[in-house]
Amino acid sequence: MSQSQGRVLIVDDESSIRRAVHNTLQGMGFHVDEASSGEAALRLAVETPHDVVLLDINMPGIGGVRACRELRRNLPRLGILMLTVRDSEEDKVAALDAGADDYITKPFNIRELAARIRAAVRRSSASQVDLDAPIRIGSVELDPARRLVRKGGEPIHLTPKEFDVLHYLMAHAGLPITHARLLQAVWGPEYGGELEYLRTFVRQLRKKIEDEPAEPAYLLTDSHVGYRFLEARPEPVEVRS
């Protein structure tokens, strides 16, 4: 606890959740502030710089999604992590579209929450992403400048669109990318609803980069939301108990 792992703002209308998260995160070395509404969070976030905001999606008042949109507009580099409940997929997509980086489903394991917060802190403190920088995650390497992909050193042949999809996902590794966002980023702004089309693409891609396409290790599905590329782990892989 000698050195703060980052400054976190927890926004939830339930005081029991704020208390529990506050205490546990503080115990793990984070500096924690609390807000009980979206309006209060907007004020607080502008007054004091935070690394990450934990934002409950269902709150009275302006609500999580609108608060997220406002925060993102005012603070482009702030890490925003939505707290959602399972089976509210539409809310998740809405939050991601409103600019949230990631979401975590209640009730969560604190270790997972801490890992997500640390990743967000890392991203927000990292310099601007260099889109042409080579990316290496696990055994997959991608070189945007030469449009080259290797898996365990072996070159993989991808079609131009497959390459673009993979590049976009790897550039945002660890973050959920909604179907609509991926379609628009790769195919253009007029796309967004061609889900089966995208799924077929991802299947082809998985056949090429995954050891076991049915059980993907890199290119992960986020149920009903979109896709997420495995996060590059700077620290040694933890062993789960």
Partner: protein, 515 residues
């Protein structure tokens, strides 16, 4: 003027051998008709006597008095009928002979031409009275028909105003009795197995109505004034109506029965509608409450899990403390899964009212389901057949994925550790059938149906894996909400396979798009 008809009816009754004749009633009718004829005959005779007296005193000749007699006969036929006119004409011809045909005051006829005149008189009188009676009868029949149509119209109109929330039988029976001036009415409603009647000696009518329904036909009562007709909707018998009354015949009862059948059906469809609406409202309320409850559970669960996992993470606990914190964490997780499933169940229940439909490939559903299970499967794999990518179903993606998740979760939980789990998909007889197979202890035959029931857990599984007793019922409800079905085949040798079948429906197969 009823005499004519009654006598005719009587004759028909007698010619039928009187087997169905209730002797007292027919005797009464017989007397009544005799009295009717007698009245007409007496009037005719009186008129003939009067004319004879006047004509004789005024010494009118044969042709003048003949015309006067003829007038009387025609009038009697118009007022009373053919038989009265015939009797009157016979008396008239005899008077003519006696008083006016020479030699007068004898029945003898000297001139053969007078024979011709008398015969002509009689034949013409009979013919004209026959014709006039027939015209009368026709007019009467038309009048009766018009009255009948008016009554039917009235019945139809009044049926529209029946209270559809109350049973129709007791309402319609007095209505029919009143409008058709029947003595008694009975209605047998086969759907409700209910008999309603009104009027005198209605018990016989009830029996007759019941018989008409079971024989699916029109029946005539013993007295010839009682009729029963089966009520049909399309070709389906739904009950029977029986009537007794003076003006009723086989033709009259058929349209009455049709109207009664329509009234029953109207009430039935209203009831169905009302019941569906009530069920929908109950379901909606239940869903809302369940949804609110499940969400309300999530908040304390989140606080508990955060605290318990936080305690463990902080690493300052003794081994015993850590054990207890782990227990809290684990049970909070279990409670959370239960809550999630209740929430899913509520959503499926709600979706039955109006399901969102989109075409989605089966592989997508399986991928969604596996992604949701990622944390729980701990690296175990399920192999998916290639056909999954090319087959599509139409339905709510979330609900269908949730259903498959239950099957897969089940397979991971109850399979022999390390054994393969496979998902195969095929189209068969208009259904897309998804089969999730695992190896492991078979499900007892007695449990194969029951495991799909809400909260049921097979006895041997209660102590083995942490289940909620909700998963398979979610899968079943989801299938049913989409017009599909679920079942299980389980054997010691081959393992257990859960099937999820959905109608493949109209629409194209998904063509894969190459990159």
């Amino acid at each position: 003027m009823d005499g004519d008809l009654s006598l005719a009816t009587l004759w028909v009754a007698q010619s039928n051998g009187g087997t169905r004749a209730d002797s007292w009633t027919s005797y009464r009718n017989f007397v009544r008709s005799r009295i009717g004829i007698l009245r007409g005959c007496l009037a005719g005779m009186a008129a003939v006597a009067l004319v004879t007296f006047i004509a004789f005193r005024l010494h009118l000749n044969l042709s003048t008095s003949g015309s006067l007699y003829f007038l009387i006969v025609v009038m009697v036929s118009v007022v009373w009928g053919f038989w009265e006119a015939s009797v009157t004409s016979l008396i008239a011809v005899n008077c003519l002979n006696y008083f006016f045909v020479p030699p007068v005051l004898t029945f003898r006829i000297s001139d053969p031409q007078d024979w011709v005149a008398l015969a002509t008189f009689e034949i013409t009188a009979l013919t004209v009275s026959r014709l006039s009676t027939r015209v009368q009868a026709q007019a009467r029949a038309e009048g009766r028909q018009r009255a009948q149509v008016e009554k039917l119209y009235e019945l139809g109109r009044r049926i529209l105003f029946l209270d559809r929330r109350r049973t129709i039988g007791p309402q319609i029976v007095p209505l029919v009795k009143e409008i058709f001036e029947a003595e008694a009415v009975a209605l047998f409603d086969a759907t409700l197995a209910r008999l309603d009647s009104t009027g005198s000696t209605a018990e016989d009518l009830e029996q007759l109505a019941r018989r008409a329904y079971f024989q699916d036909s029109t029946l005539e009562g013993a007295d010839g004034r009682t009729w029963a007709h089966v009520l049909r909707l399309g070709s389906r018998p739904v009950g029977a109506l029986a009537l007794r009354g003076p003006d009723l015949d086989r033709l009259a009862i058929v349209p009455i029965a049709s109207l009664a059948a329509i009234a029953l059906e109207r009430a039935r469809s209203f009831e169905k509608e009302a019941r569906a609406e009530a069920a929908r409202q109950t379901e909606q309320l239940r869903t809302t409450v369940l949804d609110a409850l499940a969400h309300a559970f999530k908040t304390p669960l989140t606080a508990i899990r955060t605290a318990s996992s936080g305690l463990l993470e902080a690493g300052r606990l003794t081994a015993d403390d850590a054990e207890l914190a782990a227990l809290i964490d684990e049970q909070a997780g279990h409670l959370n899964r239960l809550t999630s499933k209740l929430l899913q169940m509520a959503r499926i229940d709600a979706a039955e009212v109006g399901i969102r439909r989109e075409r989605v490939s089966v592989l997508t559903l399986i991928e969604d389901a596996l992604a949701r299970l990622r944390e729980q499967v701990h690296g175990r794999r399920a192999s998916v057949s290639d056909s999954a990518a090319s087959l599509e179903v139409c339905g709510d993606r979330e609900i269908l994925a949730a259903a498959l998740e239950q099957f897969l979760d089940n397979a991971f939980k109850y399979s022999t550790v390390g054994s393969p789990i496979s998902v195969t998909v095929e189209e068969n007889l208009g259904e897309v059938v998804i089969a999730v197979h695992n190896e492991g202890q078979p499900i007892r035959p007695a449990d194969r149906e029951r495991i799909f029931e809400r909260f049921y857990r097979a006895p041997e599984s209660r102590h083995r894996a942490s289940g909620t007793g909700l998963g398979l019922s979610i899968a079943k409800k989801a299938a049913e909400a989409h017009g599909g079905r679920t079942w299980v085949v389980s054997e010691e040798r081959t393992g257990t396979t859960f099937f999820f079948a959905l109608p493949s429906g109209p629409g194209r197969r998904y063509e894969s798009v190459a990159g």
